[in-house]
C-alpha cells in the first residue's frame, strides 16, 4: 500500500468527470445512469483502480477477512484444512488471514489479539489452550474442541468413527482389539474416539484393551506394550485401532520390528485420512475425516447472519478407507 502511488476514488471521479459518490455507487452495485457507469468503469480501468477494502471496512464495519488459527500448517490434517478453509472463504469472496501457534497457549492468545486488531469478520480456531479467552465481539467457530454453548464447535463424528473402526475390524475377523491413543491432555472432541471404540466393542462382546498416553510420554510405551503382549511369535491382539494415522504409522514400524506381518497377523486402523504427499494414497487403513465439509460448515456458521440461534456442536460423518493395513485392501 505504497501511498501516493495507488489511485483513489477521488482520482477516478476526477478522471471520469463525475462526483465521488457516483464512483462509490458504481462499485457497490447501486443503480446509476448507464453512461455514468461506463465513464466510471473506463476511468477506473485506465487508472488501474482497486477499491481499498480497509477504508471500506472502516466505514462498513466489515472487512471481508476471516482468520484461521492452527497449531501449525505442515501437519497433513491441518494443511488440508487450511487449504479447504481458504477455498471455502474465497468462494464467498472472503480473504483468509492465517496464523500458526506452535501449540503454545500464549501464542494462541496472542494470535487472537493480533486478529482482533485486524478487525477480521470472524475467527475459525483449532487450538489447545485450555484457558483460551474467546472475544465476545467477534464471531468464533471452534474446530474439534467444545468450549461452551455460545461457541459453535464443528467436528468430525469422532464417536461414530471409533465405532466404525471396530465394526470394520470385527467384520474383517478381529476378535481381540486394542486402542492406542496419544495426544494432548486438553480435552477435545477427538477423545470421543475412545468412547466409540469401547461402546462398539462392548456391544459386540469383543475383548478389548486401551492404552491412552499423553504427548509427553512419547511413543516408546506403545512398543513396550506390544512387546509385553507377545505370546511367543504371536501378538495377543489381532486388531489395533490408533487415534491418529501418525500413531498408526509408527505402530506399523514397531510391528515390523516384532516380526509381525500386517495385515496377516494383525490389522491396523488409524484415524484422520491423512494422505501421502497431501493428496495421494493413505498411510494406512483409516477413518477419514471429511475435511472439505468441516471447512465448508465452519465457514457457513462463521458467516451466518443470524447468530442468535447457532448450533453449539455439529458432528460431520466420517467414512472408512482401506489403506493396506487391513485385509480388505
Amino acid at each position: 500500500m505504497k501511498r501516493g502511488t495507488m489511485p483513489t476514488m477521488k482520482d477516478v471521479a476526477r478522471e471520469a468527470g463525475v462526483a465521488l459518490g457516483t464512483v462509490s455507487k458504481v462499485f457497490n452495485d447501486i443503480p446509476v445512469g448507464e453512461d455514468y457507469r461506463r465513464r466510471v468503469l473506463d476511468a477506473a480501468r485506465k487508472l488501474g483502480y482497486q477499491v481499498n477494502s480497509y477504508a471500506r471496512g472502516l466505514k462498513a464495519g466489515k472487512t471481508g477477512t476471516a482468520a484461521l488459527i492452527l497449531p501449525n500448517a505442515y501437519d497433513p490434517f491441518f494443511a488440508a484444512l487450511a487449504d479447504s478453509v481458504c477455498q471455502a472463504l474465497a468462494r464467498r469472496n472472503y480473504r483468509m488471514l492465517m496464523t500458526v501457534t506452535g501449540s503454545d497457549p500464549d501464542a494462541e492468545q496472542q494470535c487472537i489479539r493480533m486478529v482482533e486488531q485486524n478487525k477480521v469478520d470472524g475467527i475459525i480456531g483449532l487450538t489447545y489452550n485450555p484457558a483460551l479467552e474467546i472475544p465476545a465481539a467477534i464471531p468464533f467457530v471452534s474446530i474439534d474442541r467444545y468450549f461452551n454453548p455460545a461457541v459453535p464447535c464443528v467436528a468430525s463424528d469422532n464417536f461414530g468413527g471409533g465405532q466404525l473402526a471396530v465394526e470394520k475390524l470385527a467384520a474383517l475377523g478381529c476378535r481381540r482389539l486394542v486402542f492406542f491413543r496419544i495426544g494432548t491432555d486438553v480435552p477435545g472432541e477427538a477423545d470421543k474416539r475412545m468412547g466409540g471404540f469401547q461402546t462398539a466393542c462392548q456391544a459386540r462382546g469383543i475383548e478389548h484393551t486401551v492404552l491412552a498416553l499423553n504427548d509427553r510420554d512419547g511413543y516408546e510405551p506403545f512398543r513396550a506394550f506390544l512387546r509385553s503382549h507377545m505370546d511367543g511369535e504371536r501378538l495377543a491382539f489381532d486388531g489395533i485401532f490408533c487415534n491418529t494415522d501418525r500413531l498408526a504409522f509408527y505402530v506399523l514400524d514397531m510391528l515390523a520390528g516384532l516380526g509381525l506381518r500386517v495385515p496377516e497377523d494383525v490389522q491396523l486402523v488409524g484415524f484422520d485420512g491423512a494422505r501421502r504427499f497431501g493428496n495421494d494414497g493413505f498411510y494406512c487403513s483409516t477413518i477419514v475425516q471429511p475435511i472439505g465439509q468441516l471447512a465448508e460448515t465452519s465457514v457457513n456458521i462463521l458467516l451466518e447472519e443470524d447468530r442468535s440461534s447457532l448450533p453449539s456442536l455439529i458432528c460431520l460423518p466420517v467414512s472408512y478407507a482401506p489403506g493396506g493395513t487391513t485385509k480388505d485392501c
Copy 2:
C-alpha cells in the same frame, strides 16, 4: 468487527480523562507523561481496547499484513512453506493473508487483485501463470520462478542440487544414471535441476539419460521407459534422479513392480526433502530444500526498506539427506 461493540480510542480517552491524541501516542510509543501513560493503559485494559490496524493503516499507509499466494496448501512443500512464511512474518509482527490458486492462471491473477484490494504491504508468490501481471505498486517477491530483474526471486540452488544428486549417486557406486522430470511447462527455477544433473554427469564422464515429461503426460511413460530398459532381470541404470520426491515415490512403486530392489539393484534420489506427516522421515533419499531459509529470506527481502537495489535472484544452498533409497541409509 461488529460495530458499536468494540471500544475505540475515543472511548479510552474519555475513560482515562485525557485527549484522543494522547491515547494515540501511548499506543505508538511516543513519549508521554508517565501517569498519563498509566491512566491510558489502565483504561484500555478495562475496556478491552485493541487498536484497529485497518484504520491505522488507512492513515499510515501500512497495514502490517503480507500476502502469500500458493498453488495449494496441502502439498507438503507448500504446506511447510506456508508454515515457515507465517512464522517469519509473525516474528516481525506481520500477519499473513494466504490465498490458494489451484494452479489456475486466472485464479492467480484474481488472487493478486484480491490482495491488492486488501492493501497488503507485500506479496510473496509461488505461481504458474506465465503471463502474470505483477502490480508495480506493491512489493513482490517470487519464489522458485524468475520474472524479470525488477522482481526479486528466491529459490533453492536447483542447479547445485542436481549436481549434488549426481555426486552422491556416483559416490555410492552408480555408473549409469537417468533423470526423470515431470512438471508444468511454465519455465521455473526448478528446471535447473536437469542442467545440474547433466553438467555433473558430463564432468564425471558418467553415462546418462533424461526423460522429461509434462504434467499432462501422466506418470505411465516412466513405467514404460523403465520396462523398455530392462535387460532380462536387470535395469539398464543403477541410479535414478527424480525432479521431485513425489515422482521418486511413484517410481519406487514401479521399480517394485518390475521386481527390482531399492537400493540394492538401483538407487533413487528425489528432490524437495518432503517428509512423512510433514515433519517425520523422508519419503526417499533426497535433495532437501531449505524451506525455513527460503521463507526467512523472502520475508526479509519483501520487507526491506530500501527497495532501490534488491538482488534479482537469490539461490539458497540445498543439502542431501539419505532416506532409504540409497545405499548410505
